[in-house]
């Protein structure tokens, strides 16, 4: 039953999922490093992106690329809005108050957004048909064009993110603030705007993953909850503050998860993920490739 074809197919599926997990985790890691906030509401940006995609696709009928761009722009603005309204005011506080306050604040935002979505959109799962129809055979595996497209767009976005961080001025600013906010401020970097950008960018990438994954996951108000759990695990696995680590870990966990589904029931899957998170944090507080101490 577990022949090569099924395993390869699941592995590819794992790549598809993994590439999107990377988008989600990288955003989470970015905010964690640059803004110093563990954004519990990150999953809700994914959810909002998926809902945006649902409405655009159902009522405007745009294609995959336009939908992704539009949703990313929208979620970017929403992200900036939340940063400005809820995180920014907390910045003058002492470290403990800031940590406590932002953590709890993002929990509040998460609860608020989930229930707002529940009221506005209703509890039923909403789905869209696949972006593309048809399958193609590559060697021993049959893959759908849909999933190939999702995978490629996700890779493209990852590439854009890496380019942004490594080769642009804003990327330099992000890295500077991440390493030493005070030093960056002294060097004349406009911290406030960098934080807005970091948050918006993080949110938009999570939203993009929402757009890409909606044909697979469908969307419902609490979908963010599962997402945030995965984001945690990946970021911790790959190491805090390390976007490269998030990339490795994202793909790894995507593949592991897809293969594991063949062997264990999904109820216990979460337990395993949690257990791994706990173990990693216990024995390697830095995460596997972390640069920042836990």
């Amino acid at each position: 039953m577990y022949n090569l074809e099924i395993i390869l197919r699941q592995a590819f599926y794992g790549l598809v999922l993994g590439s999107n997990y990377v988008l989600i985790a990288a955003g989470f890691s970015l905010v964690w490093g640059v803004v110093g906030v563990m954004n519990i509401a990150h999953g809700e940006f994914f959810m909002l992106g998926a809902y945006a995609a649902y409405f655009i696709l159902t009522f405007l009928g745009w294609n995959l690329f336009l939908t992704t761009i539009a949703a990313m722009a929208l979620i970017f603005l929403i992200g900036v809005f939340f940063e400005k309204m809820t995180i920014d005011p907390l910045r003058p506080r002492k470290k403990l108050d800031y940590d406590m306050g932002t953590l709890i604040m993002t929990i509040g935002i998460s609860i608020f957004l989930q229930n707002l979505a529940l009221i506005v959109f209703g509890p039923k799962y909403k789905g869209v048909p696949a972006y593309f129809d048809g399958m193609v055979r590559l060697g021993p595996i049959i893959m759908s064009y849909d999933r190939i497209a999702i995978f490629l767009v996700a890779l493209l976005l990852i590439g854009i993110l890496l380019f942004l961080i490594k080769h642009t001025r804003i990327g330099l600013a992000l890295r500077a603030v991440s390493e030493n906010p005070d030093g960056a401020a002294l060097a004349g970097i406009p911290i406030g705007r960098v934080l807005y950008f970091a948050f918006g960018l993080s949110a938009s990438f999570a939203g993009a993953a929402g757009v890409l994954l909606i044909p697979i996951y469908n969307v419902y108000p609490t979908v963010g909850g599962n997402v945030i759990l995965l984001a945690f695990s990946i970021v911790i696995f790959g190491g805090l503050g390390s976007v490269k680590g998030a990339i490795y870990a994202g793909f790894l966990i995507g593949i592991l998860e897809s293969l594991a589904v063949l062997f264990i029931s999904s109820a216990w899957k979460d337990v395993i993920v949690f257990a791994i998170v706990i173990l990693v944090l216990t024995f390697r507080p830095r995460g596997l490739m972390g640069t920042k101490e836990a």
Partner: protein, 314 residues
């Protein structure tokens, strides 16, 4: 408002409040209100204990609901399956919760802030999933029927019992806060490194705080199980933790009065919002957001300085 509460001459007001609580069921005959007060007391005990760890010591324990659930299930199961009396059950529940806390707290000693939150939350979720899936033992989502502690129906007996537990807890916690333990806790919160450099055993005190608070929460969780009569894994769900969080935050962490205020106000608020179903959680979210923004010290003005604890009696 803040200074009004902080400046109340304590002993007389507490005695008065105690008297009012004692007389309450006599004055008010409505069983529904008795129920609300019982729930409020349960949460007041829960939040106050959790507050020792979070508000006073600064340990981001976001998995405390696990202890509540463990206490509930262990007590329920020991009565239902092993035939113990509920009184023993309560005790066993507390012990089980304390043991669980030994396991859960161990990874947290090397971690900081939000990471402790993740680990404790993850542990709680693992326990909840196990509870939910181990249907043979716990009946999972189907619900476990739990016999009451008291003979006969009615809410009067549970009311006085939980009030006693509440009073005992408050007295114990008050003593703890005003002892050297309280000072150590606050110093750990303000600066772990400085505390350690003064020779304080961080692990020792954190472990102690975990064990004590989890025992109390375990016992009250057990009480909850026997009071409500039916137990599902939701009792260990993150919703419970978020409720505790809101109550503590709104009431004022870092004080003794805050969690009690928060527990009562939010229990009553939740009941009055019951008709609004989904809007209820929406409002919770807003309450959190506004409290963090505008009332970071809660109603009772928590996180006070050392001086405040000692001069104004918590």
């Amino acid at each position: 408002m803040k200074s009004f509460i902080a400046n109340l001459p304590n002993k007389r007001w507490f005695a008065l409040a105690g008297l009012l609580f004692l007389l309450f069921p006599v004055i008010v005959n409505d069983s529904y209100f008795h129920h609300l007060f019982i729930l409020s007391f349960i949460f007041a005990i829960f939040v106050s204990s959790w507050n020792i760890l979070f508000g006073f010591m600064g340990v981001f324990s976001f998995g405390h609901h696990a202890f509540f659930g463990v206490g509930a299930y262990v007590s329920a199961l020991s009565v239902v399956k092993l035939g113990f009396t509920p009184w023993i059950g309560l005790f066993l529940g507390g012990v089980a919760a304390a043991l669980a806390s030994l396991i859960i707290s161990w990874p947290t000693f090397r971690l900081k802030g939000p990471y402790i939150a993740i680990v404790t939350l993850a542990f709680a979720e693992v326990l909840r999933i196990i509870c939910s899936n181990w249907v043979d033992l716990t009946r999972g989502q189907l619900g476990l029927s739990v016999p009451s502690i008291f003979v006969g129906a009615g809410r009067i007996q549970p009311y006085y019992f939980v009030f006693l537990m509440f009073a005992a807890t408050m007295i114990i916690l008050n003593k703890m806060i005003h002892s050297s333990f309280g000072l150590v806790a606050i110093s750990i919160r303000e600066s772990q490194e400085a505390a350690e450099s003064l020779g304080i055993s961080l692990i020792g005190y954190k472990r102690l705080a975990f064990i004590l608070t989890s025992f109390i929460v375990g016992v009250v969780g057990a009480f909850y199980a026997h009071y409500i009569g039916i137990l599902t894994p939701d009792v260990m769900g993150s919703n419970v933790m978020f409720s505790v969080l809101i109550m503590g935050l709104f009431g004022g962490i870092g004080t003794l009065l805050g969690p009690v205020l928060g527990a009562f106000i939010l229990t009553f608020l939740a009941e009055s919002l019951r008709g609004l179903e989904n809007y209820r959680f929406l409002i919770y979210g807003l309450v959190i957001i506004f409290t963090v923004l505008f009332l970071p010290r809660g109603l009772a003005g928590g996180l006070g300085r050392l001086r405040t604890v000692y001069r104004k009696g918590g």
